[in-house]
């Protein structure tokens, strides 16, 4: 099964990822332009046997230790693209086409995955292509949904819309679910209409430790702490035990984080 947890740095569906760990899912193909901590945690938990990605870093901090270890030991297979190729794969999926044309530089990546060209029928020019990416399930986390499943975001959208439109099934977690019609106006920032969404759950702080613009800040301290946690395989398992397997659900995870931490993230950084 192919899963895409969408969102570039912002609105990453961590709560959904943690729940996949709790349910001890296995053999998933995890797709994300930027695997980020969420996939590092899922890889450490043995959820994945393949990762499709374009940048596997801890943004602003460094690398992803569990991902590194899994790749260096051959525990997971990878299917690697540039960012542009990755979003182009989603564009194809979102448009219902089997491939997407783009001008892609000649890198060594091309030796490791199918990377075909087509000839433009009008100019004869050779144009790179990538195959469509059609996730079985894409999960997005949004600031607001309404009762009809319409999803609204503000701030960075990254590849969220294309990842959702490309998927067979779209699941959403939302900071809050509002009454139908709350956001009716052409100026509001609809991510996706409800008829394209299979299910929505209200999950406050569902993007922690990433952030939700206008609601809470990124937990930078945790992003920085993760390197030390994940670098040590045993420490990493202990962390999963304590924070994910050891919590029944996302409410318990939040309770464990503590109200003080949540308040601090909501207030933003004091020195601004």
């Amino acid at each position: 099964m192919t899963i895409y947890l969408a969102g570039f740095s912002h609105l990453i569906p961590f709560a959904a990822g943690h729940e996949l760990i709790r349910q001890r899912r296995q053999h998933l193909t995890l797709c994300r332009a930027t695997p980020d901590l969420v996939y590092d945690q899922m890889i450490a938990a043995g959820v994945a046997n393949r990762v499709v990605f374009s940048y596997a870093g801890n943004p602003g901090v460094g690398l992803l230790p569990a991902f590194r270890r899994a790749v260096e030991t051959g525990q997971i297979a990878i299917d690697e693209y540039t960012h542009f190729e990755m979003v182009a794969r989603l564009e194809a999926g979102a448009a219902g086409l089997p491939f997407w044309p783009l001008r892609s530089p000649a890198t060594d990546l091309a030796s490791y995955h199918a990377h075909h060209t087509v000839v433009c029928p009008y100019t004869g020019e050779e144009i790179s292509t990538v195959p469509a990416l059609v996730p079985d399930v894409t999960v997005v986390h949004v600031q607001a949904a309404d009762e009809q499943g319409n999803l609204y975001v503000e701030g960075l959208v990254g590849e969220m819309r294309e990842a959702a439109l490309a998927a067979r099934i779209v699941l959403a977690t939302a900071e809050k679910i509002y009454p139908a019609g709350s956001f009716r106006s052409a100026r509001s920032s609809l991510l996706l209409p409800g008829f394209r969404v299979s299910a929505v759950a209200a999950v406050p702080f569902g993007a922690h430790p990433s952030y939700a613009a206008g609601l809470y800040e990124r937990d930078s301290a945790f992003y920085q702490a993760w390197t030390a946690i994940a670098r040590d395989a045993e420490y990493c398992q202990r962390w999963l035990e304590e924070w994910i397997y050891g919590t029944e659900n996302h409410q318990e995870y939040l309770a464990k984080l503590g109200q003080q931490k949540l308040d601090m993230l909501q207030m933003g950084e004091p020195h601004e």
Binding site: F8, S9, H10, A33, T34, F53, S54, Y55, A56, G57, P59, G60, V61, L63, L64, F67, R68, V71, E72, G74, E80, Y81, T82, H83, F84, V87, A88, L90, E91, L102, R103, P105, A106, T107, D108, L109, S111, Y112, G155, L156, V157, G158, E159, M160, R161, E162, Y211, A213, E217, R218, S220, A221, E269, H271, E272
Partner: protein, 238 residues
């Protein structure tokens, strides 16, 4: 002031006012933010996360930070940014870090060792997008042959036409350009460093420009600007 800070300041000076620059994570991000606060107030900072013309109040820790969005001209879906602005040549300069570089400006930010059995698995390409670059100067990193080409440099014969391809490389030891054959040349030395040191720390013999320059010491305004930026980080920077 450590060597990363001096690299950041030296590369900030390479950016010109009104340029549209695709800003990579790490030192490039610091450098662009210094330039914008000093000699290039109209620098258009573009981030692969989809932000056009960011005006961050704080130094962003990553290229997806909220501060990049707040006063930005626009936030686009990533796909639009890549296809409508990068692919069509509307971005003047790309500004990246990398793990390794060779004499043609090929960059490696993917892997050390064989791709299928890596010694060190790095983050990979992301939006690596190719004009200036930035890295600590060591023999491992200035390599005659890369383990992996993440971002292509100048083609085997001659330099890219029209100013395309890598333009400047900034390290803790010096600033480098490329000659008409597409081969790297040392243009300037960082304060307190020598050409001999560069040769010692490079995996091949980098030629020197006829008029080898000296990178001026950071000015007090540059230093102040950098410290002001750092002070916006959580904990007031390192």
């Amino acid at each position: 002031m450590n060597s990363r800070d001096i690299m950041a300041i030296a590369s900030a000076r390479l950016l010109q006012d009104h340029q549209r620059v695709l800003v990579g994570v790490g030192t490039p991000n610091i450098a662009a933010n210094i330039a914008k606060r000093l000699h290039a107030p109209n620098l258009v900072m573009i981030y692969e996360s989809g932000v056009i013309d960011a005006m961050p109040k704080k130094l962003p820790l990553s290229i997806g930070d909220g501060t990049l969005v707040d006063e930005a001209l626009a936030v686009l879906p990533m796909g639009e940014l890549f296809s409508h602005y990068l692919q069509t040549g509307w971005i003047d300069i790309g500004f990246l870090g990398a793990a390794q570089i060779d004499s043609r400006g090929n960059l490696n930010s993917t892997v050390i060792g064989p791709y299928t059995h890596p010694k060190v698995r790095l983050a990979g390409s992301g939006g690596a997008a190719d004009i200036a670059c930035h890295l600590p100067h060591t023999r491992d990193r200035f390599a005659p042959r890369l383990d992996f080409i993440t971002s292509p440099g100048h083609p085997r014969h001659g330099a890219h036409p029209d100013g395309r391809g890598p333009w400047r490389v900034v390290t803790d030891l010096g600033v480098f350009g490329f000659d008409e054959c597409g081969e790297m040349v040392c243009l300037a030395l960082m304060p307190g460093h020598t050409y001999e040191e560069i040769l010692d720390h490079s995996g091949w013999q980098i030629p020197r420009a006829a008029a080898l320059e000296q990178v001026p010491e950071p000015s007090s305004r540059e230093v102040q600007t950098l410290h002001a930026l750092y002070s916006t980080l959580p904990g007031g920077g390192k």
